[in-house]
Amino acid sequence: LISCHKYKILAGVIVRLTDIEQLILLAVVRLGPEAYGVGIQREIEERTGQDLQFGSIYRALRRLEEQRLVIGTLGEPTSERGGRRKKHFRLTAAGERALRRSIDGLQAMADGVALRGLGRP
């Protein structure tokens, strides 16, 4: 079964990112080669204070992978993980485009909006 997301990609439909997807993609970009489950969770927690669980993170990553926005590669087993492997993620060109569009949209909406604390240097 080809999932609905793949149809959308094939048909060139613009992918809209959810909040979590946006956060995860940004974390992947920030972390570079260190972008795997724990790194992503830690990065998001440290920067936004949001406590995302691994279940949510992996479900979102699975979706992003299906949409070809990220690519994951399995690494070697490490002892600190109890002999289990890591999966490193990186953005694809489509992923970068989707993230760019998403952030541009958010910024365009935020432009000129006077909120307490927003636009503070």
Binding site: Y36, G37, V38, Q41, R42, Q53, F54, G55, S56, Y58, R59, R62, L74, S79, E80, R81, G82, R84, R85, K86, K87
Partner: protein, 886 residues
């Protein structure tokens, strides 16, 4: 040296629920790596909480949710949907049969739902207030009559605290509200105790309820108003508290026997929520009753203690009366739950309807079962083929069961629509005096569900049981006999056919005979001679407006002016006035006794009318002896009265009532002496369903007794045009612009008094037509099937030279025997059942032979046709065709 990090065992165990192996490895690895870090930073307890939350969330998102999705896909792929589609196709391939079954069942379900809803609402529904099922009215009285008690009794009943949790007394007051612009409007008000709202467990939306201190009389008595009234006072209900309103009340004071108009100034302190209008359904103003004479008539509502029944409560109330030393004459206090107030015949009507409608559903189910069983028989070959090519028995049964569920589901959906429609019809037919709460009746979900489940069970059983039997039978045999062959248990099929016919006819007969008896009773009542003229007599209710009519002499003058001017109108032959005029006679609460013979009329039994001069010729009531009241007698308030023939016979059995004297004893034990001046013929003074031989007393109209409205009776000439407009105009010009209320013809009053029996007769009539149609279609279907089963026999007999008449006789005889048996059992069952209808029959006996005979004839014709048509068709077959088809 660091130890190898490990997750706790429970954690690893739970993580196994994650479906995807790679996900499982990644999550476990991440947790192993992150957990020590989180524990070190937040402390071991918080770390444990973090781990638990992470694991639960991961298992839910990556373990449970994908599994549920997969299960749904499995169900879809496993063939349930395919079976449902298959069942749907089969239903569509026989649209007539499907539509017939759905129509039959939905009529049954719909009729049941509607009648049960009415029943539940009108008979079983308690008042929707605190301790609703324990709320009951308390009356003072006996078995056949009960009266609203006086305040004195209500106070005494408070002593019955062993049986009553609480008690409240209130009175309803019709008043006129004069708004800020001076416009006067009728409002319903209630005189309540300050604890009234607390008793009911309701509180105002805006402002406060009445407080105990409010009962003290003051210039501005506090009052609570309804939401509707608040909207009339001001656009914003929140601004209403604090405003004052003026009510004009015509209060009858039993102490002085006079009516006084009083102006009340009330200060609104609260607004009740929308929809609250108790007592009744249109009360607008509640005010504290203040100090009242103990003879004031009140309604008493009590909340019984949990577990206390009506009998216990009656005894406790009687004891309290005796303890307080206020025990009046009569059988004692009586507790009635709101549902009982309908009275015997309304309750009987509803129960009878419920049974009749239940029978209709049963007849429908019998029909449908037969149709389904016949179809299952025809499908034996199909079932055998499906089994032979490898379908499992479970799959086969599932497919048939789905079909039954689809059928019953369709019937249930249509039944809901039919039920809602029927309920609307009930509301449209509703005679006001029958069941006021009917207006707010809604579909009773429980009874709907019960009827739908009953139908579902019947349909599923009638589909699945034959399918099960077919699936266990020898497929070769099922295929060999084809669709037309006589089935294996031919004898059993014959017995089944007969049983179905007998059951169906018996049930239907009972329903139709009941309808016939009610219809006959109703038409007889309708043809009764009321004893007074109904055509060209009009009643106009009006009241005197304005301050100047507060004066008695002024009212008297106004009334005689109205009478003179109306009599002068073209086409008017007689004019009179009064109160409690036939067919709306009042009920006397006073006791009447003959002075010399000592004979007494039972109190509460006589019909009471206050009449003006010329009333008898205006109403068309014949005088048997004596005369009408003269204008002088009425003006002077002379102690003269007229009675009807039955009353004269009761009071003066030895004859000659004219000139004799009677004593009148009021409820307050005031005694006065009156002379009989006229004896009128008996009339149905309280409507055609009332007893013509009832006791009737006519008093001269007394201005002192004037209650808010009085009735002007106008009789016009046969050929004259309707004088209503002219008469109303005349009354308005004298009594005031808004003085005229309702204008009715006596004909329409008679029709209103017949509304209840008409409602019941119409309902029964339509139910019986429904039952008769269902039963005749059912019998026709059964006989058709039976005849079709015998086609081969018919063909063989014809081929061997049997005559057509003989074949016809043979087929007809086979079906006519169960029909005859069904009719016989129907007559027997009806004789046993109709006895319960007697409270509803105003006229005629519950075993009226003419009705039974007529219904028998109708049944003989209908059932004869249902049997003869298929038999005749079958006897005309070409034997070659039949045998070739085999």
């Amino acid at each position: 040296m660091t130890t190898k990090p490990r997750l706790p065992a429970w954690c690893q165990h739970l993580l196994r629920a994650i479906v995807d192996l790679q996900d499982r490895e990644l999550v476990a690895g991440d947790l192993t790596e992150r957990w020590p870090e989180v524990s070190a930073r937040r402390g071991p307890r918080a770390g444990g909480r973090w781990l638990r939350r992470e694991v639960v969330r991961a298992v839910w998102i990556l373990g449970v949710r994908p599994r549920v999705g997969r299960a749904v896909r499995v169900v879809i792929r496993s063939g349930w949907t395919a079976d449902a589609r298959d069942a749907w196709r089969r239903l569509r391939s026989t649209p007539g049969l499907t539509a017939g079954i759905i129509a039959t069942l939905s009529l049954g379900i719909g009729a049941n739902t509607a009648v049960y809803s009415v029943l539940n609402h009108a008979l079983l529904d308690p008042l929707p207030y605190r301790g609703g099922s324990r709320l009951a009215y308390v009356y003072s009285g006996g078995d056949s009559f009960y009266f609203v008690p006086t305040l004195r009794l209500a106070r005494a009943w408070r002593g019955a605290s062993s049986a009553l949790e609480d008690l409240t007394a209130y009175g309803r007051v019709r008043a006129v509200w004069r708004d800020a612009f001076g416009t006067e409007r009728d409002v319903s008000a209630a005189r309540v105790e300050p604890g009234f709202f607390e008793f009911l467990g309701v509180r105002p939306d805006v402002g406060r309820a009445l407080l105990p201190g409010d009962a003290v009389p003051s210039d501005a008595t506090p009052a609570v108003v309804s939401r509707a009234m608040a909207a009339r006072i001001s656009e914003d209900p929140r601004s209403v508290p604090g405003q004052s309103i003026q009510l004009l009340r015509h209060a009858f004071s039993p102490a002085t026997n006079e009516t006084v108009e009083t102006v009340f100034t009330l200060t609104v302190v609260g607004v009740m929520p929308a929809g609250f209008a108790f007592p009744g359904n249109n009360t607008d103003v509640w005010f504290p009753q203040g100090p009242l004479p103990p003879e004031t008539i009140v309604t008493v509502l009590a909340r019984l203690r949990p577990g206390v029944g009506a009998h216990t409560a009656n005894a406790a109330l009687l004891a309290a009366e005796q303890a307080a030393g206020v025990r009046p004459a009569g059988p004692g206090p009586i507790v009635r739950f709101p549902g009982d107030i309908l009275g015997v015949s309304a309750a009987t009507a509803l129960w009878a309807l419920q049974i009749a409608v239940g029978l209709v559903l049963l007849i429908g189910c019998v029909n449908v079962s037969h149709l389904l069983m016949a179809r299952a028989h025809r499908r034996r070959a199909e079932a055998a083929v499906r089994l032979a090519i490898g379908a499992s028995r479970g799959r086969l049964l599932r497919s048939y069961a789905l079909e039954a569920v689809l059928l019953a589901g369709g019937a249930a959906a249509c039944g809901l629509a039919v039920g809602a429609g029927t309920l609307d019809l009930f509301r449209a037919w509703r005679p006001d005096r029958f069941l006021t709460p009917l207006a707010s009746t809604h579909i009773d979900i429980a009874s709907y569900a019960a009827a739908a489940c009953f139908s579902l069970t019947a349909v599923v059983l009638a589909t699945v049981v034959p399918a099960w039997r077919a699936s266990t039978a020898d497929p070769a045999r099922a295929l060999g006999t084809g669709t037309r062959g006589s089935d294996g248990g031919s004898r059993r099929a014959t017995v089944r056919m007969r049983a179905l016919i007998v059951t169906e006819l018996t049930l239907t007969f009972v329903v139709v005979v009941s309808a016939g008896l009610l219809g006959r009773s109703f038409t007889t009542v309708m043809r009764r001679d009321p004893g007074f003229a109904t055509r060209n007599v009009r009643h106009l209710d009006f009241r005197f407006e304005g301050a100047r009519y507060a004066d008695l002499a002024e009212r008297r003058r106004g009334l005689s002016e109205i009478v003179e001017r109306v009599r002068a109108l073209p086409g008017v032959s007689y004019v009179s006035f009064g109160q409690g005029l036939a067919p709306e006679g009042g009920i006397s609460r006073d006791r009447l006794m003959a002075v010399d013979t000592g004979a007494t009329l039972p109190d509460g039994d006589a019909t009471l009318s206050y009449i003006g001069p010329n009333y008898f010729p205006t109403a068309g009531i014949q005088l048997a002896a004596g005369r009408s009241f003269t204008a002088e007698e009425i003006r002077d308030g002379a102690h003269v009265l007229a009675i009807n023939l039955s009353t004269a016979r009761r009071l003066f059995p030895e004859g000659a009532a004219i000139g004799r004297t009677v004593d009148l004893v009021t409820v307050t034990e005031r005694r006065s002496t009156w002379t009989v001046v006229g004896v009128a013929e008996d009339t149905h003074a309280r409507g055609l369903t009332s007893d013509a031989g009832g006791l009737q007393v006519y008093f001269p109209f007394r201005f002192e007794l004037q209650v808010p409205t009085l009735t002007l009776a106008v009789r016009s000439e046969e050929s004259a045009s309707d004088p209503t407009a002219l008469v109303s105009e005349t009354v308005r010009s004298v009594a005031g612009e808004h003085s005229v209320g309702q204008v009715t013809t006596v004909d329409s009053l008679i029709a209103a008094s017949l509304a209840r029996p008409r409602f019941v007769a119409m309902l029964f009539g339509s139910l019986s037509v429904l039952a008769l149609v269902l039963a005749s279609v059912g019998v026709y279907g059964i006989v058709c099937y039976d005849v079709a089963r015998r086609r081969k026999d018919v063909g063989v007999r014809l081929a061997l030279g049997a005559g057509r008449a003989r074949i016809l006789g043979w087929l007809f005889g086979a079906a006519a025997r169960p029909v005859g048996l069904g009719l016989a059992t129907g007559v027997a069952a009806s004789l046993a059942a109709t006895h319960y209808l007697s409270p509803l029959l105003d006229e005629g006996s519950p075993t009226d032979p003419l009705t039974f005979a007529l219904v028998l004839v109708v049944f003989a014709i209908v059932a004869g046709a249902a049997v003869a048509l298929p038999a005749r068709r079958s006897s005309r077959l070409d034997p070659l065709d039949v045998l070739r088809a085999e």
